[in-house]
Structures are given as C-alpha cells and as structure tokens.
C-alpha cells in the first residue's frame, strides 16, 4: 500500500495505472475500484469558486491514512490500496483525492474503497479554504456528507 500527500497537480488515471503495473501481481486480482474526488467551482450555495487552499497536518495525515488503509485491508481482505491526496493550491476541475483498491472480488473492493474515502472526509486532518468573489472562507466540517454517508446509496435527484 502507498499513501502520497502531494503539493502539485497529478493525473489520477496515470497514478492508478503506474501503481498497478509496478505493484499488483498479474492474474491475481479480480476487481479494482477507484474513487476520484475533484474540485467543483460551487459549494454550499457559493458559485464562482476560483481556487482553494488545502491545509493539512504533515505527518499525522500520512500516519492516519496509513492506519485506515491497514484497517480496510484487514477487514475486507483487500490485496492492495493506493491513496493520493493533494494539499496546497488547487483549481476547479483538479483531482483532489484518489483512492484505488485491488482485491479478488468486487464486493470487498467497493466496501473498502467507500470505507477509506469516508474516513478521509471525516477524520483525516485536511482543511479546505475557498476563494471566490465573495472572499475567502474555511469550509465548514463535513457534516452534510456525514448524513449522506449513513445511507449506502447515493440519493437520486
């Protein structure tokens, strides 16, 4: 497994492909599930968000995500996992986070991927600061997602 905290752009698809080529044994995994979180240009009723700054707690971030991946690998018998998370200045449409999980069967990869990204959103020490025409603001804690995550299926619009 690998945790990368990165100050700079990255291509999540390339990261998955490279990691798989280098680390996942041929013919052994039957499922790979990938989650990519990207930056929107709107949030909580504010439009025209021009950029965002992601603060984090160096050291604890990597340590915490490492623990979460270990928990997931043990709980679901996952073969391997990769997490990449941006920090610093981020623009709309940039990939912020990548979670990729490899396992023998799809159910465990889906469950482990969901578990890792939900923990990342609620417990990993990252903080978003948004800039728009209305000024700058720290984004409030992920309470809305916490409610949404109670349900395993996304709500239809």
């Amino acid at each position: 497994m690998k945790v990368i905290v990165l100050d700079g752009e990255f291509d999540p698809w390339k990261a998955v492909s490279e990691y798989q080529n280098e680390n996942i044994e041929d013919g052994k995994h039957g499922a790979s599930v990938t989650f990519i979180g990207s930056m929107r240009d709107f949030n909580d009723g504010v439009d025209g968000i021009s950029n965002m700054y992601l603060d984090h707690y160096p050291g604890m971030t990597e340590k915490h995500i490492g623990h979460v991946i270990e928990d997931a690998m043990e709980k679901w018998d996952v073969m391997d996992a990769l997490v990449v998370h941006r920090v610093g200045d981020i623009k709309p449409n940039d990939a912020i986070v990548l979670v990729a999980v490899w396992s023998e069967h799809r159910a465990m990869a889906f469950d482990a991927c969901r578990f890792i990204i939900n923990d990342l959103k609620h417990r990993a020490p990252f903080w978003k600061r948004e800039a728009s025409d209305a000024g700058e603001r720290w984004v409030e804690g992920n309470s809305i997602d916490a409610v949404a995550d109670e349900h395993s299926n996304a709500k239809p619009k």
Partner: protein, 76 residues
C-alpha cells in the same frame, strides 16, 4: 514538562499563531494545557491529537508530547 502545541486551519487564526512551546506541571491534561494557552473556552467541536493520534481533553500529557488543536476536517 515541555509540551509542543500546534494549531491548524481556523484554529491557527483564532490563536494568532501556528505553534508554540509551553511548560506544564507533571500530570497535566489536555484541558489544563488549553487553559494555559487560551483565553477562551475550547469550542465543542475542537478536535485534539496527541503525538498525531486522536484523543480527548482528559488525556494526561507527558514530557515531550506534541498536542494539536484543530476544527472539524474537510478533506476528500
């Protein structure tokens, strides 16, 4: 005992600094630490980490601990 203190995100602005060193009596808790560095009560949603692991305000500190205070997280 010497304790290193760190503040992140809005907590850094509230405290007006990113980090500091402080001296506390043996047996002091995170609550005692807060009382010694802050003039306002700790917000209910404040998260606390000691040596980069989540804990609570009753945690008893030891020499050399690194304590961080921060608001609810917003990663992902």
């Amino acid at each position: 005992m010497k304790i290193a203190v760190k503040y992140f995100a809005s907590m850094r602005e509230t405290m007006g600094k990113a980090d500091e060193q402080t001296n506390l009596d043996e047996g002091a808790t995170v609550n005692d630490l807060w009382a010694s560095v802050a003039t306002i009560p700790m917000a209910e949603n404040t998260l606390i980490a000691v040596n980069m692991e989540y804990t609570n305000a009753d945690h008893v500190l030891v020499e050399g601990d690194e304590v961080a205070f921060f608001p609810p997280v917003t990663g992902g």
